[in-house]
């Protein structure tokens, strides 16, 4: 294309040479005459060019702190007496339309996760009604029709005589998930430190053996540890993963026309 332009722009076309400025116009862009090393997009433009979504800037120190505070306060409220989970399959508090059937036990049952296993006795039980009789109230501020509720009267009309106190945190608590992760980080740090030690001093094998011992004991009383070692997947009871979805099949990688006649 570049060779076709010719002196004086003879023949018109797309590659036009402009003798006055000494440039050549190719594809609507003005370029220097010397085109060595220039690569011109000849093909059509990509139909769906890659457009990564705009990313929000990372949090400043203050913002990170705000997020942290929020999660802390919220987690504390979730652990408190007012937090409830109904799990009744409704989206809001309004009455169902007549045409919509009421959610039944069976329709709410998730066969993959809701089957009771032994460890279900450890599951955190979510309350479905708030526990109102745990803290003192300023009864005068509530409307009269709600005051009996505040007393924590049970169905039989007995007033609980429990002592009531507000739950306060004296120090700023750590949010729940932070705590879970901290353990793991501590563990990896330990492991790293151990690895470094090994690198530094080879004669420290005795210490290493000591380190191994607790692990071995762990394996004995931790029945799941052995299996998690042997298999990379850690959720044996997840029925959805029992059948692989074909992602790992070799056929995908191979030439699809391998077994066909050519």
């Amino acid at each position: 294309m570049s060779g076709r332009g010719g002196r004086g722009g003879r023949g018109g076309g797309r590659g036009g040479f402009n003798p006055r400025s000494g440039t050549v116009t190719i594809g609507g862009t003005e370029l220097n005459w010397d085109l060595s090393g220039l690569e011109i997009q000849k093909g059509p433009a990509e139909r769906f060019p890659e457009a990564p979504p705009p990313q929000a800037p990372p949090p400043t120190a203050d913002e990170a702190k705000i997020v942290q505070h929020f999660l802390q306060v919220r987690d504390r409220i979730h652990e408190g007496p007012f937090y409830t989970i109904l799990n009744d399959g409704m989206k809001n508090g309004l009455k169902r339309k007549a045409s919509e059937p009421a959610p039944t036990e069976a329709s709410l049952f998730n066969p993959f996760t809701d089957n009771q296993t032994y460890s279900a006795k450890y599951l955190k039980v979510r309350r479905r009604l708030p526990k109102l009789d745990e803290r003192p109230y300023v009864t005068e501020l509530f409307p009269a029709e709600l005051r009996p509720t505040l007393d924590g009267k049970r169905g039989d009309g007995n007033v609980s005589t429990k002592r009531r106190t507000l739950g306060v945190t004296k120090v700023n608590a750590v949010s729940q998930i932070e705590r879970m992760i901290k353990f793991e980080e501590g563990r990896t740090n330990e492991a790293e430190a151990r690895a470094e030690e090994e690198d530094d001093e080879d004669e420290d094998e005795e210490a290493e053996q000591d380190d191994d011992k607790p692990d071995a004991i762990d394996e004995e009383d931790n029945f799941s540890a052995a299996s998690s070692d042997s298999e990379e997947s850690d959720d044996d009871y997840n029925a959805e993963q029992y059948f692989d979805n074909g992602e790992d099949d070799d056929i995908d990688d191979a030439d699809p026309y391998e077994n066909t006649y050519e």
């Binding site: 979730h78 409830t84 955190k124 479905r128 793991e184």
Partner: protein, 666 residues
């Protein structure tokens, strides 16, 4: 009421999501009924909802305790309930409040504030009792080494009060009582976290004594962050208006319904005044019986709290008269502090961090005297009294000297200024004729007068900025300045709108907005002239911005028959409408973020419930595999990232909604 009481469905949805996110499903279900149906009695709620009446009552108690719902009081039966959407929206600011209080008053105050936010309102006596139980148990302190509730519950095995939820409504006291009686400060979810040794750096945030607690509370009340709670604060704006208007009619108009224009004006004016008085009464600082030590300087917000242990105060034995007081967080103050933060960060971008620091000092000086960002019930202007009363309250003025007294000695105030200005103030640092350089100026050795003048230079920078962050007032106290918040707020709003337009339509969109703002209503030809562009180039932008609701259109027929050909088609830009549209869009964005968080949580829900299991808590490294911990960490990142975006959008909401009242159109 004001325009921001106007409710949109999207806002109702947002508030319901927030309530659900923070207080759980029961509260949110009851809330959603009230949000959908408006002011309702208990019976009407029960009729509109699928919940049973016991659930509704429980839900209402939660909502009332946390100030998410108004009620109409006991004077007139039946009681009506109505959502308090402003307070419900403020749930998104839980983290911000804590952070702002922590920055201003230290960690102890932040701790008290967090507890107040969690508890709604409370008597001071109850709060004291919770912090410092009057009966001292000797055995319960030993095993409280985990601060979060779950850890303890696991240790106590059967004492998990959550398990009572299984047997709903049935008394299983045998299971619960041992714990609750054993240490009463220790019921579910509200344990008294005892700091452990590894929290050595944390004991800064722990409140050590009853006196200290009172001191913190008193300080927060004085600064306007906490206010006393009265029953009138439960009145919804509509109920309050009705009551006060009736009072006005009874007292000022002799019980006659106002008929004439003049009577109506009087009625309106006096009602507004009553509203202002009532609201100001809520903020009155009650007298605290304890004597304040003489050295305490309460006018200084940047000063840290002094710990004065037991210097001659009466011991905790006697009940103080203020124990009866009921206190709650003052929601109006939060917007004031958020405004300070936003302005300071804006100054930091434009003029550098030293000037921003000085500006922050000025703003925080004013914060104590600023109960709210704008007057919600302004006095209606009277005829013939235009612009005469431009008196500024001396409490809203700041001098450079005030700032000089407040700022940290070691702070290098010379940074960010023209060196020549500093040299001309200090009269040092000349290059002599003998080419000997004198010693550089040490900012910590400046005397107060020089400091004042240097700070004044910074303030001048602020006032010369196109945004006019400060305005000169008088010469008293070297130089006295005031801050025209309404003007700045308007500019902030305009900037946000222009930012949005420029992100959506590029510079041409902004050009169009500015042209329309300057010229008013234009038809196409006039728009082309004003923008010096051809009609074809403009049309696309005008169409898009009109569809997005930022540019308004109007059609004026020129002939009797309304033919398009013979009509004028005008476009114009209305700041207030664009602002409301943008606010609406922002609410929508926040709803989407909350939905996204919910979805992401559902994805990891099995893992989360495993991690919450009582045998796993505390033994995460034993029972959770590496993959599961990675997934947990990923969920944490996702949650934080989305929450961060939520709070950023909340900042935008504050700019658009909270810093300025409704703007008068065109």
């Amino acid at each position: 009421m004001s325009y921001n009481q106007r409710e949109t469905p999207i806002l109702a949805e947002l508030c319901t999501f927030l309530v659900e996110d923070v207080y759980g499903e029961l509260a949110a279900r009851v809330y959603s009924v009230l949000a959908r149906h408006g002011r309702q009695t208990l019976a009407a709620v029960a009729k509109a909802s699928y919940l049973n009446s016991r659930q509704i009552k429980y839900g209402l108690v939660i909502l009332l305790q946390q100030h998410l719902v108004f009620h109409s009081g006991n004077d007139s039966q039946p009681t009506y309930y109505e959502i308090d959407w402003q307070n419900s929206y403020a749930l998104v600011r839980l983290g911000k409040v804590t952070k702002l209080v922590e920055d201003r008053f230290g960690r102890k105050a932040a701790n008290v504030m967090t507890n107040l936010l969690r508890l709604g309102h409370t008597r001071i006596a109850d709060l004291k009792e919770a912090y410092f139980p009057s009966e001292t148990e000797s055995d319960d302190d030993s095993d409280e080494d985990i601060k979060n509730g779950i850890g303890k519950k696991r240790k106590r095995g059967n004492g998990d009060t959550n398990q009572t939820a299984m047997t709903n409504g049935v008394t299983n006291g045998g299971d619960v009582k041992p714990v609750v009686n054993g240490d009463h400060a220790h019921t579910n979810g509200g344990p008294v976290g005892e700091p452990t040794q590894d929290d050595a750096e944390d004991d800064d945030g722990e409140i050590g004594s009853v006196e200290e607690l009172y001191e913190v509370i008193e300080r927060l009340i004085q600064k306007g962050w906490v206010r006393t709670m009265t029953e009138s604060q439960y009145l919804s704006p509509g109920d309050m208006h009705d009551i006060l208007q009736q009072e006005t009619i009874d007292q000022d108009l002799g019980g006659q319904q106002p008929t004439g224009i003049k009577d109506k004006a009087i009625c309106h004016r006096n009602t507004l005044e009553r509203k202002r008085n009532m609201r100001d009464k809520w903020l009155e600082v009650p007298r605290f019986s304890r004597k304040r030590p003489a050295d305490q300087d309460y006018s200084n917000p940047t000063k840290r709290m002094k710990v004065n242990g037991a210097n001659g105060w009466s011991s905790t034995g006697g009940a103080a008269p203020e124990d009866k007081l009921v206190i709650r967080v003052n929601p109006e103050k939060i917007a004031v502090a958020m405004r300070t933060e936003q302005l300071v960060s804006l100054v930091e971008q434009r003029l550098g961090h030293v000037t921003a620091y000085i500006y922050r000092t000025m703003l925080q000086e004013l914060e104590a005297n600023t109960p709210r960002c704008y007057e919600e019930y302004p006095e209606p202007p009277t005829a013939g009294d235009e612009g005469g009363d431009n008196q500024i309250d001396p409490k809203n003025l700041v001098t450079a000297r005030d700032v000089a007294k407040k700022i940290n000695k070691n702070f290098d105030i010379c940074e960010g200024l023209d060196p020549n200005a500093i040299v001309s103030i200090t009269r040092k640092g000349h290059v002599r004729s003998s080419n000997v350089l004198s010693q550089p100026i040490d900012p910590s050795s400046l005397n107060t007068d020089e400091k004042t003048r240097i700070i004044d230079k910074h303030i001048q920078l602020l006032s010369e900025d196109p945004t006019h962050f400060v305005t000169w007032h008088s010469r008293a106290g070297y130089s006295q300045w005031h801050i025209e918040f309404p003007e700045i707020a308007k500019q902030l709003i305009q900037t946000e709108i222009e930012n949005t337009v420029s992100a959506r339509k590029g510079t041409l969109g902004v050009k169009l907005i500015r042209a329309l703002r300057k010229k008013g209503k234009l038809d196409e030809r006039a728009t082309c002239n004003a923008m010096m562009m051809s009609a074809g180039d403009i049309r696309g932008i005008v169409n898009d911005l009109t569809v997005q609701g930022i540019v308004q259109t109007q059609e004026i027929p020129k002939v009797e028959r309304r033919e398009a050909k013979h009509s004028l088609h005008l476009i114009w830009y209305d700041r207030q409408r664009a602002r409301e549209k943008l606010l609406h869009d922002t609410y929508k964005g926040m709803v989407r973020i909350l939905q996204r968080i919910q979805f992401e949580r559902e994805k990891v829900q099995p893992l989360l419930s495993k991690a919450e299991r009582s045998d796993v808590v505390g033994n995460e490294e034993k029972w959770l595999s590496k993959g599961e911990l990675d997934a947990l960490r990923k969920w944490k990142e996702v949650q934080e990232k989305l929450s961060l975006q939520l709070f950023r959008e909340d900042d935008l909401v504050a700019t658009l909604r909270d810093f300025h009242g409704p703007l008068v159109s065109v």
